[in-house]
Amino acid sequence: MKKTCSSQDRSDRSPVGVEVAGLSKNYGTQTVLKDVSLSVKPGEIFVIMGPSGSGKSVLLRQIAGLETPTAGTARINGLDPTDPGTRDRFALALVFQAGALFNSLSVYDNLALYPLEHRLCPKPQIRERVMRALKILSLENAAKKFPSELSGGMKKRVAIARALVMEPQLLLYDEPTSELDPVMSATISEIIATLKQEFQVTSIVVSHDRDLAFTIADRVAILMKGSLRTVSTATELRGVTDPDVVDFLNPQIDLKNPRYQKLEAL
């Protein structure tokens, strides 16, 4: 995306790296993440996969600085993400699974909120920036609509457009392709790859989408029951022998499985 106006105090647009060290997260007595350590290189597309409930989104929230880890640290270029200064410096953006759009604002206002609140550009340039993001996501006709008038997939696209308007150096996606049709999923994958190629945006993507992971990821991490099982390139991942990881990546539908027989009995 072509940068139209300067972001406040963000002259340093060098790629951003993320370091997670010994991170654990408990909610009461429940342990959701156990001693997770990983390193995301600057400009990398890092995909985190894992079964539902394995703690992927929780890990993303620690990296985004929305929560404080119970133990260990998450750092963005060595800085603490819970510090608003860090988020502002790198224009960290997070695409939420359900969009998290502001229901009282139109789609246009949702997108324009960040540059307006941070006074990044004059209004005509903000408009230009917003309209370009809407065009990339094929949402030009939705600018005046309110989130309640959009389908689930459209909300997701608006959330991605809102992140693009921020011109982030670190972009976190929580299930960006869920609820989207295959064509739009491919478009999202292309956008993530383009942001890396043209602007060296570091992307961390939480996803179940194997196509996305194997197509655009530089590296893939598999998280299971709160622990990191493997971090490898997509090619290396095909050769992993861990039976749980193999089962997760290549699920087989076995109609002789006792689970199905129980269903039949019903």
Partner: protein, 251 residues
């Protein structure tokens, strides 16, 4: 002990919320549009209910005091009694109760659903403090419209009393006498005391509403619980504060 902890925790977080909101006061020019919007939602939209309620409170007060004062042959003091009761007590309290029922519940529901549906998280990742974006406009707005709303309520209440005096035969006090008695002992300082009360009530009600909304955790069911909690806490606070403010102003 657990409940006591919860009360102090809530109180502490409300104070911190107010502090964080007012720290961002220098950015107030940026939020003028939202202040006007909140003043419209909270003030203008509440006006019809406040007007209706105040009219009948004034009328009821005149009727009751008329019956009681008749026994002492002091009917001519109805105006004074209605006027002072509305200015010093019932006006600010009733408007604040209306605010708790109407504005605080809506505010808590809105902020709690924003919390539950991750809109607050989205604001935080965008580095837009919710205290500046959501809380400060509401607090400034309530400080602006609360005295106006209360004053309108008080004046309409006075007229409610006048209507009863004029048209209820057994009271037998005409409106001229009523207003003469009302204005005879009314001073600006009494009106000012009433408006101070209204400002404090309004501020606390909105602060409680915002704090309860932003502290909501869990799913949609919690939104309903948060609204109930917010309204109950607001009503309790109004009555407790009323006692202490009255005492402080009397000294």
């Amino acid at each position: 002990m657990k409940h006591l902890n919860a009360i102090f925790e809530g109180l502490g977080s409300a104070v911190m919320l107010a502090y964080r909101a007012f720290v961002s006061l220098p950015s107030a020019p940026r939020i003028i549009k939202r202040v006007v919007e909140q003043a419209f939602i909270g003030g203008y939209n509440t006006l019809p209910i406040v007007a209706m309620l105040s009219f009948f409170i004034g009328a009821e007060l005149a009727l009751q005091s008329g019956i009681s004062l008749q026994n002492f042959g002091a009917k001519q003091l109805i105006g004074t009694l209605v006027g002072e009761s509305l200015v010093r007590e019932l006006g600010p309290v009733m408007v604040a109760i209306m605010m708790a029922g109407r504005v605080a519940s809506a505010t808590t529901a809105e902020l709690a659903s924003m919390k539950v549906y991750q809109e607050i998280d989205a604001l935080e990742t965008m580095n837009i403090p919710p205290e500046r974006f959501l809380v400060l406009p509401r607090l400034i707005a309530v400080l602006l419209y609360m005295p106006v709303l209360t004053m309108i309520g008080i004046v309409i209440g006075w007229f409610g009393g006048a209507v009863v005096c004029e048209y209820v035969n057994f009271i037998g006090v005409d409106s001229e006498q009523y207003f003469h008695s009302l204005t005879q002992f009314m001073t600006m300082s009494k009106v000012f005391d009433g408006l101070i009360k209204a400002e404090i009530f309004g501020f606390c009600v909105i602060l409680i509403a915002c704090n309860t909304g932003l502290r909501t955790r869990g799913g949609p069911r919690e939104i309903g619980f948060a609204v109930t909690r917010s309204v109950v806490l607001s009503l309790i606070s109004i009555l407790i504060l009323d006692y202490f403010i009255t005492k402080a102003l009397a000294l």
